[in-house]
Symmetry: C2
Subunit: 490 residues, 2 copies
């Protein structure tokens, strides 16, 4: 590893941080790949500048990097053939789903082909008895849930964004349901993956558990497109619960809210969701959604799944726990409309936050810490925010110890972006010091590479890079991501 | 891969199947390692023949293979130094816990050092707030549960045997609680691992979820000692439920029992355990434990965890489901003693099975299939058993689609052992044809290597072997396991 500088050594400037001097493939090699690929894909292989620009970045603050071409693939065989050729010519391939990633995962920092998988969006099979399904990677969460709803099934992993499930696998996404149903990691039974050299393998299977060799499924989940292209996903589904109830509870301070979460989890109350909004976010939400019966105080949002009597019992138990911790109010509801009303502040948190500063964009931090350190992490983040002079409401998946500060920045003010990134780094540093991780669910991409190394240490990073070299010896798959010194194509 | 023969091509003879002509390290290299290791370990490094014999096999039917020496290590630093030296001298190292594995995982087929981790059995820390703990690999499940019980916590993974938790990680173990609490895979947050060359890495962490690079934790879980030596384990713990209830239900036929499991799972009733015993096993258990109120019929055993009212409700819901499916009786109980009485047949299934044929040993099959194929798999297995002329009661973790036939054999009759292994293979073939895996929880070791290849295909096996080569380029870690053509030490 040639470059072991931390972010701070690089300096906080966005370009200095995120734009390593990557080597691109030669124009001749790129032209060779494009020429051959066009024979297979026709006008689904495009070098149109607008399309390439659309594939140059996700939704985060990372500067865009254009691919040389975009390939709208429709079959595994097309991907296999394209990868064989890119492998031969050492041309980079960057898998692209909905383009909703936040840390620069889809940016083509070495150029090459942006492999757009969004048209591979078939739901291939749904097995009601086994509660599993087989889908293509471009299927979205909403698409799948609409398709299976009337079979009494649902897919719980909900990162909020309208992302593809292939992208969720690649980034190891989670969201609000993880406390009860797990992240994408716990809900994938198996994958089909095209390797860098075009070989196609299947991992996992249809069984719920297996002690059958190395866990390749979990190696590809969270690999952010650097080890293979995910082309099919077998997902675990869940039965729609008989009943759902929701509750919200407001607290005089953050510690009381977090104490309530602790106690709830330790009692083994099987909450489906528990979300926190801080006082700033609540103030924003009250103004934005006209929630005049609420106070701008730290607030927990609960959802309970189960039988009719069990969701009632769960809400009552949590009410008692919250009251013990000093809750100022507790409301719960069962009907869909009443539940949605209770959760309004949480559902519309992002537009409410941005409305605090019209024209601003939000940059999301993504620290996750052990739950016992959550109050320290959030209170510390609030101090850091105050010191920065920026506005950054906080929303947290508190059952998992994961929270996001939505740092509001003027996208046209580079110096403010710089301050926002410095604030993000400070919050990550604190999270790491509290035994946490630099990313709970957004991934590493380009933005968190130095932190990845800090978090795992040089030897563990070296192991990761050995695995990368074993599976992608020419470094064509999403080069520049995860590691500060990628094996670049030559 | 030089040897792609299936078990059947090898012929069913035990030695032909399991004893590949492995190359051992030279006596000079072994002597060099032993000499240096003795300076560090003193008489904790032993070449005593009795000790070496005790470390030559687990509890399965695989023929023993003695190591050249046994190292009773006590610290990570001792392991680090020993591995550095074995790496240098290309001497095999076989991690050993309680020796309870069933597929030859601990047999030293290439000789070398048996690395006995049973003395590394400290519970380093328990975090009640975060419900996690850090332990050494020699800690047993019972030891941990005794230690944490009065803190209101428990560790749910229960494979039955008195195994070490390090061994459970290495084999990807599960057991009766997996349907509710997951297998060991879902309950490990992080590991400390000594690599083949002596480097020490940490994987995962204390957080409940993370999107922070390749999932090394899950790569080592289930790697059966071939990728690294697990030296610390951070486990997820669970709150002891407020109440537990148990139930049993008997059915006129297997299909009715399996239908009950389906419906229960689809209703989302959060059963903690659901176990099946077939008619033969029930006959054995009734005779052995004098359970005269039960019939020798397919029987389900349930356990429910939750609040007092919820465990009652769960039992009532399951009773209704079972009744709908044709259940002939349903009994449930909440007190510990009454629950244990209900579960007697399940708890004492193994001695009851063996009592069907005094002097016999049981060989456990371990197929796992999608739950919709479970009835086919079990009924097919029963036909195979009948055709074999052997006795083999069946017990199943039916919520996961995993079941074991306990094939009773005279350990002194090689031809019968041969028939038993042929029967095992037939049951595995059927499981694979039904979309299942050759191993739900016992692992691959030596016994299932050809099936591993059949199940995943040549390219996926090749990926696994690339990972092995990346992390253990000299092939010193548990050589001969998982793959038919291991990279042997030279």
């Amino acid at each position: 590893m040639s470059d072991k500088k931390s972010f701070n050594e690089h300096g906080p400037l966005k370009d200095a941080i995120w734009r390593q001097p990557h080597e691109r493939a030669s124009p001749e090699r790129i032209a060779a790949v494009i020429g051959t690929a066009r024979q297979v894909l026709g006008d689904r292989l495009s070098t149109n500048v607008t399309l390439c620009q659309q594939h140059a970045q996700g939704e985060g603050p990372v500067a865009p990097s254009m691919p040389d071409a975009v390939a709208f693939v429709e079959t595994v065989d097309e991907i296999r053939r394209l990868l064989e050729q890119c492998h031969r010519e050492r041309v980079p391939v960057v898998p692209f789903g909905a383009g909703s990633s936040l840390e620069g995962q889809v940016n083509a920092v070495c150029g090459g082909i942006s492999l757009d998988l969004s048209r591979m969006n078939s739901i291939i099979e749904v097995n009601e008895e086994d509660m599993d399904c087989l889908i293509e990677p471009g299927v979205t969460r909403e698409q799948l849930n609409s398709y299976i709803r009337d079979r009494g099934l649902f897919f719980p992993v909900d990162p909020g964004a309208e992302c593809t499930i292939g992208g969720m696998c690649a980034t190891r996404a989670s969201g609000t349901n993880a406390v009860r149903y797990g992240t994408i990691r716990e809900n994938v039974l198996g994958l089909e993956v095209v390797l860098a050299d075009g070989r196609v393998i299947s991992t996992g299977g249809r069984v719920r558990k297996a002690a059958n060799g190395y866990d390749l499924t979990h190696l590809f989940i969270g690999s952010e497109g650097t080890l293979g292209v995910i082309t099919k996903i077998r997902l675990r589904l869940h039965g729609v619960p008989e009943a759902t109830s929701a509750a919200i509870s407001q607290f005089p301070n953050l510690a009381a809210a977090v104490d309530t979460v602790f106690a709830t989890m330790q009692l083994g109350i099987p909450i489906a969701r528990v979300e926190l909004l801080d006082d700033v976010q609540m103030g924003a939400s009250i103004a934005y959604s006209k929630l005049d019966d609420l106070e701008p105080l730290p607030t927990l949002f609960f959802e309970f799944n189960g039988s009719t009597s069990s969701v009632k019992e769960q809400a009552e138990l949590v009410e008692a726990v919250a009251s013990e911790a000093g809750s100022l109010r507790f409301s719960w509801a069962t009907g869909t409309e009443a539940r949605n009303r209770l959760w309004t502040a949480r559902h519309r948190a992002y537009p409410a936050a941005v409305a605090l500063r019209p024209g601003a964009k939000g940059i999301a931090t993504d620290v996750c810490v052990p739950i016992s350190r959550l109050a320290d992490a959030v209170l510390g983040a609030k101090e850091d925010i105050a010191a920065s002079g920026l506005i950054a409401p906080i929303a947290g998946h508190v059952g998992d110890g994961n929270f996001h500060c939505c740092i509001l920045v003027d996208p046209d003010d580079p110096s403010e972006l710089e301050r926002a990134l410095a604030l993000d780094h400070k919050i990550v540093e604190r999270g790491l010091a509290l035994g946490g991780t630099c990313s709970g669910e957004h991934g590493i991409g380009l933005g968190k590479r130095a932190f990845l190394q800090r978090e795992h240490g040089v030897d563990a990073l070296d192991v990761m890079q050995s695995l990368k070299a074993a599976l992608d010896p020419r470094g064509i798959l999403n080069p520049g991501k995860l590691f500060l010194d990628p094996a670049l194509p030559t």
